[in-house]
């Protein structure tokens, strides 16, 4: 997994609440058996018309946001389907940080498995960063995961919370499965006692 330590990049504003994973990556792109290549279909139905032409008004089609690495969005980002194709598409487009007031549970967890940092901030602070993002390519937002800070283009600094274990894994690009396999003895022992206690399982 790619490491995430610091990021200085352009933020794209998407001021909608309840952005669901069907919007992030519609169902017709879930038929892939690979993890890569979904960036071109990120927000597909908002991004392209019926003839596959770009819709110029959509934020990621605007020249100043085509290289965006950060997305600023509304409440309850990533709700709905558990499809990990959503963070795969976001990462494949080149976005590695999302800032929103809150996230749906499964999406939030999926981000950390794919080198994406989802940051939850109070609405007032998201509003400030949303305005910052609306300034376009001249407004770079800086993120420092170690220090847990976001610096706006005006130099205003916000701090954010992140689970220490998730932070450690993200900063070091660690593979969860490898880490868990180091605890194989604990799993073996649990399995043995569970099969005694609940042999019908």
């Amino acid at each position: 997994m790619n490491k995430f330590t610091t990021l200085s990049g352009i933020a794209a504003p998407l001021p909608l609440i309840n952005i669901d994973t069907d919007m992030i990556i519609p169902k017709q792109f879930l038929k892939t058996i690979k993890r890569s290549g979904l960036g071109v279909n990120l927000f597909d139905e908002m991004r392209y018309d019926d003839d596959r032409n770009e819709i110029p008004d959509f934020v990621l089609n605007k020249p100043q946001y085509r290289e965006a690495q950060i997305l600023v969005a509304g409440d309850n980002f990533g709700c709905g389907s558990s499809r990990e194709h959503a963070p795969w598409a976001i990462a494949d487009f080149g976005i590695t940080c999302v800032i929103a007031p809150s996230y749906a549970d499964i999406f939030y967890n999926n981000c950390f498995k794919n080198g994406i940092l989802p940051i939850a901030l109070p609405q007032e602070q998201v509003d400030i960063l949303m305005k910052d993002a609306e300034k376009g390519a001249n407004a770079r937002i800086e993120i420092d995961l170690e220090a847990q800070t976001i610096t706006s283009s005006d130099g205003e600094v916000f701090t954010f919370e992140v689970d220490p274990f998730k932070k450690h894994c993200l900063m070091n690009g660690l593979d969860d499965i490898g880490l868990t396999m180091e605890k194989a003895a604990a799993i073996d022992s649990f399995e043995a006692s569970a099969s005694q206690a609940r042999p019908w399982v």
Binding site: R35, N110, K113, I177, A197
Partner: protein, 468 residues
């Protein structure tokens, strides 16, 4: 011993390891797998030389992509990419030695219907699947939730998940449901009350007289949509109905093992003085047949209401409501019963069980669908289909003008040939009314099976109580 909730009890029985910061390895009893969210996980195993730790506890069934038309054995009914995905599941299931119900098996169906039907889902278990509607299995008093593909790979390799414990939320539905009001109306009304993020960070336990009175099928409908309320999982404490449902199922314990299991299952309830982080109480008598007007499952109103004004809302919801009303092609303030429908879809993991088909048949018996209406009933499994045929329900549906399909996810998510065209408006018994969910530009109104049947007859959203 300190009092515990049902969630606390199941959680405690499955912690294989706990780190100092509270991060746990939660042991998983049953892992359900379907074709859409698993190929990358199996590929990951191969690339790292890992294998499936418990193939005996891993159950695979294709459902999302499979066509539901009677000619689906003909490969031409599937697109090439769908075929590749189903073929990948076939290869993976055989290569890793999983329990497998292929498309050709009469037991095939939607993974969340097949699991309980075959007795894989039992009280007190941990159940996961790379699908958010895994919440369905919570109806048995099992801790069941959706996971992403990386977590699918993690469970395949280690039979555990890295988890932190959620908070406890109680949703109590007191009293008795009025006539014409169903499990679907309960679960939609709860989401209307809490919002789609109201359950974020929680595991919900549904309780109260109205929940106790529900059949297992109804309880599965309630828990199925816990995810639409944002919760990690939904649970209902097991009782005699649960035990009766499980008894004799192919993978349920038998004989002395059944007795031992039953003794433990009977301890699975929330202690009287258990701590709840959040409590919501709704009177069953206040619940009416529910319908969604917008593009979020929280956009719920009783059928007797009117499309809201965007200005009735606050904050980001004002713009969201404007966008929804425009997408849905509605007018603020119009009665919901004035909304005309051109497609009716009855099925999905929310409402594709036998009881749902019986409820629809009770309304459709001796009636015809409105001329020009496209109406389909898609049973949740091959066995549900067989039972409906035996009970004569299929004849009622066909005589009414419904298409009687084979089992699959079908139009719930339109990954298969069953889709809405742009602008088409559907009364659907599924779980999500997101933009484009049932096909690009398609418009979805979520309702119960009885309400969907009523709309099929009249051609517009209808208060089913007027037809009873």
């Amino acid at each position: 011993m300190s009092p515990k909730t049902l969630y606390d009890k199941i959680w405690d029985a499955h912690v294989a390891d706990e780190a100092d910061d509270g991060t746990c390895l939660l042991y998983i009893d049953r892992h359900l797998v379907h074709e859409v969210t698993s190929p990358q996980a199996f590929e990951g195993l191969r690339m790292t030389g890992r294998t499936v730790r418990r193939p005996d506890q891993t159950i695979a069934v294709p459902d999302h992509n499979v066509p539901t038309t009677l000619d689906r054995a003909n490969a031409a009914t599937m697109t090439e990419d769908s075929r590749v995905q189903v073929a990948a599941l076939d290869t993976n299931a055989k290569e890793f030695g999983l329990h497998y119900y292929p498309v050709s098996d009469v037991r095939q169906g939607i993974v969340h219907i097949v699991g309980p039907e075959q007795g894989w889902t039992l009280p007190g278990m941990t159940v996961v699947c790379g699908d958010s509607h895994t919440a369905t299995h919570g109806a048995f008093g099992s801790l069941a939730h959706g996971i992403g593909t990386s977590e699918v790979e993690h469970v395949l390799a280690t039979q555990t998940l890295i988890q932190k414990k959620s908070k406890n939320m109680k949703v109590e539905i007191t009293g008795k449901l009025p006539t014409g009001v169903t499990a679907k109306d309960i679960t939609m009304t709860v989401i209307g009350e809490t919002g789609t993020a109201g359950g974020t960070g929680y595991v919900i336990e549904y309780c109260g007289e109205a929940i106790r009175e529900l059949s297992m099928e109804g309880r599965m409908t309630v828990c199925n949509m816990a995810i639409e309320g944002g919760a990690r999982a939904g649970l209902i404490a097991p009782d005699e109905k649960t035990f009766e449902y499980c008894m004799g199922r192919p993978h349920a314990p038998k004989g002395a093992q059944w007795e031992a299991a039953l003794a433990w299952w009977k301890t699975l309830y929330s202690d009287d003085d258990a701590h709840w982080d959040k409590v919501i109480t709704i009177k069953a008598e206040d619940i009416a047949p529910a319908v969604t007007w917008g593009t979020s499952p929280e956009d719920v109103l009783p059928i007797t209401a009117k499309v809201p004004m965007a200005s009735d809302f606050q904050g980001g919801k004002i713009d969201a409501a404007k966008r929804s009303i425009e997408y849905m092609g509605l007018t603020e303030g119009m009665p919901l019963t004035d909304i005309t429908i051109d497609t009716v879809f009855i099925g999905s993991c929310t409402n594709g069980r036998i009881e749902d088909l019986r409820a629809a048949a009770a309304i459709l018996k001796g009636k015809k669908v409105k001329e020009g209406m496209r109406a389909m009933i898609v049973p949740g499994s091959g066995l549900v289909r067989a039972q409906a045929e035996e009970e004569g329900l299929a004849d009622i549906f066909k005589e009414a003008g419904f298409e009687w399909r084979l089992a699959g996810c079908s139009m719930c998510l339109a990954m298969n040939p069953d889709q809405l065209a742009p602008g088409e408006r559907c009364a659907a018994t599924s779980n999500r009314n997101f933009e484009g969910r049932q096909g690009r530009g398609g418009r979805t109104h979520l309702v119960s099976p009885a309400m969907a049947a009523a709309a099929a007859i009249t051609g517009h959203l209808t208060d089913v109580r007027e037809m009873m």
